[in-house]
Subunit: 219 residues, 2 copies
């Protein structure tokens, strides 16, 4: 399998964790979203939205949209399961996924940041405020959900890693990269620490990707 | 079941269609997002994100996040199925869902429009441009996906209604309400017409909701 990925893409980060947890071999094809690789003409076939990730299966079929990918990988490679057996529990997992995938992430992706600076004219401080606003709203909702539904669990839902953790961890990592304080989210901070103790999460971080920029090392 | 809904909420629209297709009885509890009902103190228990929809089951359990709700309803009430049998086809359906649910909708919801006018200072024309930009990008991606994967099908995926149609239709309806021209998306326009010929879609429209404002009638 080939994963079209970018070091700082949170959606690619989610899928890297899933592929590692499912013990899949995959090659990473770096797609530099900041340099505009996604707008090159032949990339249209890989991803019609000019986004990453895209996963190219061994038969050449191409899948995109990280949530669709995560659910696909869990269905086709059921071991270890990343969704609970119970329908209500699955709904809770998917609700958490959506808080990250639909309510935080789409507001802070490169194309939106670019619109904000180039078309709306936001300066760096105002852009950072925008990013912090949606990040905090979403993380606070995830924290509240876990406090209400699973305050004593190890992970987002119960004591087992689920797709919710795969969506949460990149978002918390990004919040830290942006310099936001996540310590007032005790459940999220605790789950982040726990997940990062697993190599499948730790080795999927932006900072250890082959395309991570040298000049950022040590930051 | 009780559905906390708002006439112009696209996420509520999706769930209304699902409940009707699954032949579920449900009461609509109107939550006026423009008047701020979602910020009243007791609403926090219904939806910790101050959003709609929330679905209250007969045993009192509360579900939120429309995608989580749609998947739940399809799992618990499998007839008629709203997801294909094949895993690749399911991935295509979920990819289309995410184009609407994650890539268009979160950028045009009330809280983002409010931030844009109140904090960023966009005027009405610039706000409309913002809404049109993300709506068009997302609809174009859905059109391209269908052209590539299912050009001769009746619905978004094959010849059967799926969750992708439940996510597409409200978005096309909203584009029309905003006055955007959707005629250059032939697949989407055709699927919209077909779906709207079914009462489950037609009777879930914003315009026929009990809380639709009288002064908008005839517009």
């Amino acid at each position: 399998m080939k994963l079209y990925s970018f070091w700082r893409s949170l959606a690619s980060f989610r899928v890297r964790i899933a592929l590692k947890l499912k013990r899949r071999d995959f090659d990473v094809v770096s797609t530099d979203l900041l340099a505009g690789d996604q707008f090159k003409s032949d990339f249209n076939l890989i991803n019609p939205q000019a986004m990453v990730p895209s996963l190219v299966l061994d038969d050449g079929s191409i899948l995109y949209q990280s949530m669709a990918l995560l659910e696909y990988l869990d269905e086709v490679y059921p071991d270890p399961p990343l969704m609970p057996q119970n329908a209500m529990a699955r709904a809770r997992v998917r609700a958490l996924c959506m808080m990250a995938v639909a309510d935080i992430h789409p507001l802070v992706v490169p194309r939106v940041r670019k619109y904000m600076t180039d078309k709306v004219g936001l300066d760096e401080a105002a852009l950072n405020q925008w990013i912090e606003n949606w990040t905090n709203l979403g993380l606070a909702a995830m924290e509240a959900h876990i406090e209400q539904n699973n305050p004593d669990g190890i992970y987002c839902e119960g004591d087992t890693v689920s797709l919710a953790d795969l969506c949460l961890i990149p978002q918390v990592g990004a919040a830290q990269m942006f310099g936001f304080d996540v310590s007032h989210y005790p459940h999220l901070s605790r789950i982040f620490e726990t997940c990062m103790s697993h190599p499948e999460f730790f080795d999927s971080r932006p900072q250890v990707q082959p395309d991570y920029p040298e000049e950022l090392n040590g930051r």
